[in-house]
Symmetry: none
Subunit: 415 residues, 2 copies
């Protein structure tokens, strides 16, 4: 099954937004063994869109469009596809009813424009949208399948997962399976990692092994192709075993698992609670931890203290420490962690204090310098790191690293 | 000048990496007034790549390819382009010399494969590469320009900025200037906005007006094309004036300005400090506020309180309130804001409490329900919203909306 993904929207051609819809759909369709052979992006221009759809229909079996299903004049994808397929547009009262309910449920009134969203090409199979107002649709013609999905990534993903994926499997079945396993390593650089596994990278065809340097960690991706998911999984196992042998303690996270999820499962299995005290991360650490559903089971809170007086009043960091060593110091990081731990009555506390930049750096305390404190039943640890990147990047790296240190603290004291 | 950007590489079609090369080149070329009309991605497949290049040459004036210039067998872009253009490949000894020096400089030895990188189509203008080994090139034929750039984003960007940009300006000059102005509206839905400005959207060709629905706000983009930046700016002004007249108080942010930046400048001009009390946003509100350089001038901190006892102990939310109305209630939001304001001695305090999901929703308190409290010298306000989206999305929308409410609170009490 050859697939072409057609993304529409002038903002893509202006370079204002990055095209993640094509990436997401490609990743998902490859999992089903479908071959994505082209990505095409075209603007909100009727003639060019028509030509693009004609070309796509001539060279692919399945054409998936995203975008242009909204209520505005710029939204024209389904109308132009209907023209290319010589199909009339039909009004679907049940769709208008759904859209009306969607607005009603949100105590908002539906504008006349939204009625355009209740139109669909004659004979189209409708994908109702529970994540937004724009319905999707699928049209079969001369052995080709044309699919329209909404453009907003959240709605597009929802409709793929809850509608299109099942529809494709029902109509064409799985075309074999591509299965990947990702191992994430946080305490080795890219080149050391290359040294450690290069022979495996070079030696393999199925499964393949690839290395990717990510912010704060290195990703090892094993990918296997087989007729069934079981067969693909069986191909992955021996390679994973070899890698675990070589890297044992270094592999901390798997697949799409985030460091916040790793911290979450580590805390749950250790039956421990955690709190934070944040300066340079400004709340990002607590936000990462609470991105995990159910984190209220182990996360008590975070005291974001952005000035010295507050560090002293709320966390009890001594004025001597602040005067003698300053807020960005090993001593302050330690006292912040201890203060948070007692303020929240937490088992483990994590603190961050540093210079996120772009201003405030000095010779001996440069931008990117961050102290991370961990306080818990097995004593206190403070780490010093210097991160590169702009202000948000330094915050991200510091917050992810802080969770990593907490995980190591828990794992080391487990055995 | 119509441009098509052709990105090559199977990893793009597998969804393993996101395509930022197309976005970057589009953004840069639009700055020069060149029209990017298509993005096409094709894999390392000779026949498909040949067809894609033929199509591109037939519909664009300038075709820019990225990727496929490396030393491996999968790298075939320039060979296939030469075939399409009926040009022989020629060996360039000076290129091999440069590549050899590049390796030598890095104390690495050049593999025989790299010699392939010294080949170029007859008559091609060579772009030497100081950021990597793959040279780029430009070929003129029948009034069309075909450009090959390397695939690794760092090398591609370097070659655009140091080679291609100047080459384009020398050969075609600037095609005039495209200038955009973005107005962000937070208190109107996409359809209502459409109603309010549809006549302007329809009536305009230069400047054009476009609407984009973004998480939590609607973006109005005015884009003008002119010979000079001043002329483009002059075209923008009357349209902006008309929009301000129609939407006056609704336009809160401009261009790339984030709500955190708007809150920052509003607080600075009002000479006020702010603190937060966060439950469902988990620290994201504080993190957004501290993404702004210099936010320490007005941001004191945030008390992230993720359980009732902590809400009571740290913020002084009364146990009666928590028992009678629960943590997700107008009353709790209000007491959290008041508690944060006195804890941090802040002028204004912002609180969030809600149900981020996916669990924890009920009939009368569904997932996505968030109460936002604002406490300050002009009294207390509490807002109730229901946000759609997954857990991180609800957090994002709630945090952005909370900053918006604080901005409105400050602006309303300014006059």
């Amino acid at each position: 099954m050859f697939v072409e993904i057609v993304t529409t929207g002038s903002e893509l051609l202006l370079g204002e937004i990055i095209n993640d819809n094509s990436r997401f759909l490609s990743e998902e369709l490859n999992k089903l063994g479908y071959f994505v052979i082209y990505h095409t992006t075209v603007g909100d221009n009727p003639q060019r869109m028509e030509e693009v759809l004609q070309t796509a229909i001539s060279r692919a079996d399945i054409i998936i469009t995203t975008g242009g299903l909204g209520p505005t004049q710029g939204d024209m994808t389904k109308e132009i596809a209907a023209k290319v397929l010589h199909l009339p547009m039909e009004y679907h009262p049940e769709l208008e009813e759904q859209i009306r309910r969607w607005f009603c449920h949100r105590h908002r009134s539906m504008s006349p424009n939204n009625e355009r969203q209740a139109m669909a090409a004659k004979g189209a199979y409708i994908f109702t949208n529970e994540a937004g107002t724009a319905p999707g649709m699928a049209i079969h013609q001369n052995g080709k399948l044309i699919v329209h999905l909404p453009g907003p990534p959240r709605e597009m993903r929802w409709m793929y997962e809850h509608r299109l994926k099942l529809y494709l499997l029902e109509n064409f079945g799985s075309q074999g399976c591509i299965k990947s396993l990702i191992l994430k390593v946080y305490d080795m650089g890219e080149s050391d990692m290359e040294q450690a596994v290069m022979d495996l990278v070079k030696g393999q065809s199925n499964p393949t092994l690839a290395l990717y340097a990510k912010p704060g960690y290195v990703e090892l991706r094993i990918t296997a192709r087989a007729a069934t998911e079981e067969a693909a999984a069986a191909l992955l196992r021996p390679m994973e075993y070899q890698l675990q042998q070589r890297l044992h303690r270094s592999v901390i996270a798997y697949n799409k698992e985030t460091m916040a999820e790793v911290l979450g499962r580590t805390l749950l299995s250790a039956r421990r609670t955690v709190s934070c005290a944040e300066s340079c991360t400004g709340g990002l650490l607590g936000s990462y931890i609470t991105d995990v559903p159910g984190s209220s089971a182990y996360f008590l809170g975070s005291a974001v203290t952005y000035c010295d007086t507050v560090k002293h009043h709320i966390l009890g960091v001594s004025t001597d420490t602040l005067e003698q060593f300053s807020a960005v110091s090993e001593q302050t990081a330690g006292e912040m962690a201890r203060g948070s731990r007692s303020l929240y009555h937490a088992d483990i506390a994590i603190s961050t204090t540093g210079i996120a930049g772009p201003e405030g750096g000095t010779e001996e305390k440069p931008v990117g310098l961050v102290y991370t404190g961990i306080d818990g039943p097995w004593g206190m640890k403070v780490y010093k790191d210097i991160y590169v990147g702009d202000r948000p990047e330094v915050k991200r790296r510091a917050a992810i690293r802080a969770m990593y240190y907490a995980v190591v603290y828990l794992l080391e004291n487990k055995e």
